[in-house]
Amino acid sequence: MSVVLKAGKISALTAITRIIPGHAEALRKTLQALTAANGGKIASLGTIHIVRWVIFDDDTRLFFATNFDGDVEDYMRDFAERAPDGIDAIWGHCEGYPGARDYPKLRDYILGSAVETTGYYCATPNATVADINKALDWKGKFDTFLDQIG
């Protein structure tokens, strides 16, 4: 899948979809709520490094760019099964969206609206979200230990 570029363990995907006229404001509120509180539900998926949505072109289009661990096909289906309401709440505001409960159609929709990545750099291509969180956790514990003996 040339629209998904991989660096080490990290994949990059960018998709652009058309917003249903009149839906931009509701979509804006949904995205702001979804990404508040340290990522909320997105963080709980455990494999998303960064995700960015941008409403642009005079509220007519939605830009979606994400970096995540693993291959898109391995996890997109699990996302769709675990959080179909969250996916519906976003792309339900976009034209042609088939719903998250029909996985093959969802995959075709997302990958079909994806655009090829032209340039991509990742500073930590071999560290997954789980690896990074674990390393930071250990670093915190080690600092606490040093504080105690110091």
């Binding site: 709980s44 693993g70 291959d71 096909e73 699990d78 099964e81 675990r82 409960r101 029909d102 997954t128």
Partner: protein, 462 residues
């Protein structure tokens, strides 16, 4: 759109037996056939429909069984219409060899190195199973004499059977020396008892999986009927069977244990940690310190655990083979949410002879397992297990580690054994102990679908 409501009653007389029930026949021939005359072959399939062992047919514990399945190339070769062919999933249409990169079938396991006939596309899998070798051989001879005049050519008959135990009797162990086949998914409507550990843990103990995880046209664990290849009259009550011919390098396994163990007892412990069970089959989840043959022999107890009380893996490591392939409730966080969407019913038997326990060198013999893995969705079930659970570590916080027994290790693999008290022990320089030697994806049609092949327009339906 996927239907939201339940389909009709499960018709156990229309579903091939190996779709829903684990075969316990000690002997099998796995015949691979190719189509040479599509019209004759179609008539043959319609004719053998009535001879195929069904789920209901297993109720009477028959002394032998017969089943047939076709690859996408096989369906194409017998003239199934294009509209039907193109309605099958991408992975089934492509076939196993084309999916090698996803599956980790690279290097020594690459399709270019596969044994005949799997070095080319194959059409038909015909499985002859029996309680005795004589019955199996007679059934196979009859099959081979009839296929010749029915538009089919025999490519190979793989000789597979249980291995002899210490007293010479046949026992369900695999070549590395471990009892095999304890965990099988219990499936609603199959007629198999729901043994503790077989299905899904719930408040009342254990429940069976929904039939749709294995049978096309039935509701699955999402409560819906997934989209089927068309027409539904052809795909309904069918399933998919994934054939894997896996060579086992028993000498390399023993050699590796010798190289990193302190003594024989330590080697036995390391091997059990890698496998997740002791040689008897006693699970580390219930017997962390030493083997317990009495526990292993009790089907009510030998599989009754969830890993919920072992989330750190100090009894059974997170990366142990059996825990990777069936993580149960032992995955924390989001990866634990969908474990029951990746289950497989395992059929198959060992091939080749055992490497003697006192062997002092590698005999180089071909030995391993023919795995027949049954599922309704090859990408969601088999391929996910192979790619994520076997050949990745991130789902369980294991970084770059792969399955220590069957993962695609390259001599630089590691395996982490958590311990109380810490620190953990880590095995290094893991090579591969298993190499893929062939395989293909097959469609296991329902009986009515097989019968429909007698019609020239089979597969188009109404």
């Amino acid at each position: 759109m996927a239907a939201q409501s339940a389909a009709g009653e499960l018709d156990r007389t229309d579903i091939q037996g190996m779709t829903m029930r684990p075969y316990r026949f000690p002997f099998a021939h796995y015949h691979v056939l190719n189509v040479s005359d599509s019209a004759k072959a179609r008539r043959w399939f319609a004719g053998v429909a009535g001879r195929c062992t069904t789920v209901a047919g297993l109720d009477a514990s028959p002394s032998q069984a017969f089943n047939v399945a076709l690859s996408w190339q096989g369906l194409s070769a017998i003239g199934v219409p294009q509209a039907t062919l193109s309605s099958f999933s991408q992975e089934f249409r492509q076939g196993m060899a084309a999916r090698a990169d996803r599956l980790g079938d690279v290097g020594d396991s690459a399709p270019a190195r596969w044994d005949p006939p799997f070095n080319a596309r194959v059409h038909v899998l015909a499985v002859v199973s029996a309680m005795t070798e004589a019955e199996r051989n007679a059934a196979s001879a009859a099959l081979l004499s009839e296929v010749r005049d029915n538009g089919l050519t025999a490519a190979i008959a793989i000789d597979a059977k249980l291995l002899p135990g210490p007293d010479g009797g046949l026992v369900p162990i695999e070549h590395f020396g471990y009892r095999d086949g304890i965990t099988q998914p219990a499936i609603e409507g199959s007629g198999e008892p729901v043994l503790p550990g077989a299905g899904i843990p719930d408040a009342g103990g254990w429940r069976a999986l929904k039939a749709g995880e294995f049978v096309l046209g039935q509701p699955d664990e999402m409560g819906a009927v997934a989209d089927l290849p068309t027409p539904a009259s052809f795909s309904g009550n069918g399933s998919f069977v994934v054939l894997r011919k896996l060579h086992q390098n028993v000498w390399a396994f023993r050699n590796y244990l010798r190289s990193c163990a302190r003594d024989d007892a330590d080697a036995a412990l390391l091997a059990a940690k890698m496998m997740g069970r002791w040689p008897s089959g006693a699970p580390l989840a219930l017997a962390a310190e030493r083997d317990d043959p009495a526990l292993a022999a009790d089907p009510q107890r030998n599989n009754d655990f969830t890993y919920l009380d072992d989330l750190q893996g100090t009894s059974c490591p997170m990366g142990a083979h059996v825990r990777r392939l069936n993580p149960r409730s032992g995955l924390t966080g989001p990866n634990g949410a969908s474990v029951h969407r990746h289950r497989l019913l395992r059929q198959g038997l060992p091939y080749g002879s055992r490497l003697p326990a006192d062997a002092t060198a590698d005999d180089g013999a071909a030995r391993g397992a023919i795995m027949l893995l049954v599922n309704a969705d090859i990408a969601r079930q088999f391929e996910f297990v192979q790619k994520v659970w076997i050949n990745d570590g991130n789902f369980a916080g294991l970084e770059n580690e792969r399955d220590p027994m069957i993962g695609g290790n390259d001599g630089s693999g590691t395996f982490t054994i958590p311990r109380v008290p810490p620190p953990r022990r880590r095995l290094k320089n893991l090579p591969a102990f298993v190499s893929t030697r062939g395989g293909e994806y097959f469609f296991l049609p329902g009986i009515t679908a097989l019968r429909s092949l007698a019609e020239p327009a089979a597969g188009t339906g109404s």
